[in-house]
Amino acid sequence: MAPFELVVPSSVEEAMAALRTAGPGEASVLAGGTDLLNDLDDHRTNPRRVISLRRLPWRTLDWTGNQLTVGSTLPLRALEQDPEVAQRFPGLAQAVQAVGSVALRHRATLGGNVVRSAPASDLIPVLLSLDAELDLVGPRGDRRVLVDRFLRSSRQVDLAPGELVRSIRFPEARPSAYFWQRVRPANDISQVAVALAFSPADHAWRVAVGGVPPRPLLLPEPARVLGTGAPGPEAVRRAARLAGEQAPFVTDRRASEEYRRRAVSALLVRAVDSVLQAPEFPG
């Protein structure tokens, strides 16, 4: 690891000042560190300064009625252990449990996962299916952005210089599910994944897939085919087929394109079953 200076600000103002004074491209932000430290070791990133967010008051979990706001530095393990999250956002809890191992989740964070934006992230598909938004703080003020807009490409996000992700906001509790396929159940990277959610407010489904380059993606057509409530078997079959046809899968060292196309259809069928069986499913 190239030497760097570790700065641990205890307020948001100090954190932004530490970012500003480091100079462009000279600072890396450390949340849990489970991804960043690998980059530092491999010299993919060579910052002069690393700014740790651990002292910021962002390890929070707040409900406002049906809305959930998760502080960006809350460890994933705390998120998955909240019984209300598991009940009202089952897809989110399932996706969090798919990340790494228990020990890794004691440090890894939701904010870090989104900002680092690994193409095979297990959390991003679910954030897309839940229409999650990010609350950012920065030198030009605060702003809110949909995760779908924030993600540009593999490991590229719409974060301006000096900006930090303060929290992730889920506008509405949704019956939801996350299903993945990979070689090992724990501590592995998903070859294909499906996040499914039903919005009670607009009576519509969201289907998002992972394992597609350059970043996880919402698939509007299969979602539309699922209809405005509980879909019948024919609609499920059609949606599953469309997902297999429309997701821009490719062959890489983890799996072939053909395998991914078949797997995504099977996973979507299972995800629909799981959501329909939840007691929270309306109607």
């Binding site: 450390l30 690393v50 790494g100 020990a103 890794l104």
Partner: protein
């Protein structure tokens, strides 16, 4: 104003670490600065669990943790003495079940289990204990003997 040096409390003993580099990982601090070689380095990328320790009772990958990020906190390693009843109990279960061959992975397995037992307030279910081991790799045993050690830690087990 001079700042006090970073301090780690390892297995109950405080260690002041003047001159601790900002970029040093907890794994290296334990092994090379404090000479506690029980915690092992396998992959250094979060993939094997050999480096697992407890930080304030929570299982943590010491290869992916900067030592200064845990300044002032309590670290428990496989070197914990018999007064750490949870760690001692797991070590005996591994011995009784013959759950190791080369032993390189064992400290990580033991600490992952210790973290889960602490998290569950002293007693964890078989499923919880196995979940805790999801990130630990063993190249020798084929895991069957490790699962038998886990069975000894479950209430009503052998």
């Amino acid at each position: 104003m001079t700042r006090p040096p970073p301090r780690l409390i390892v297995n109950g003993r405080p260690f002041d670490l003047p001159g601790l580099p900002d970029d040093e990982r907890l794994l290296d601090t334990l092994r090379w600065r404090l000479g506690m070689k029980g915690t092992k380095e396998g992959c250094r990328t979060g993939g094997c669990g050999a480096c697992t320790v407890l930080v304030d009772g929570e299982s943590t990958l010491s290869c992916l943790t900067l030592a200064k990020e845990v300044d002032g906190r309590s670290v428990t390693t496989i070197e914990a003495g018999p007064e750490d009843a949870v760690v001692a109990r797991i070590r005996s279960a591994f011995a009784a079940a013959g759950a190791l061959q080369c032993g390189y992975c064992t400290p990580g397995f033991v600490m992952s289990l210790a973290g889960m037992i602490r998290e569950r307030g002293g007693v964890a279910s078989r499923a919880e204990l196995l979940e805790a081991l999801g990130g630990n790799l063993c190249r020798c045993t084929g895991y069957a003997s490790i699962v038998r050690a886990v069975d000894r830690l479950v209430p009503g087990g052998p």
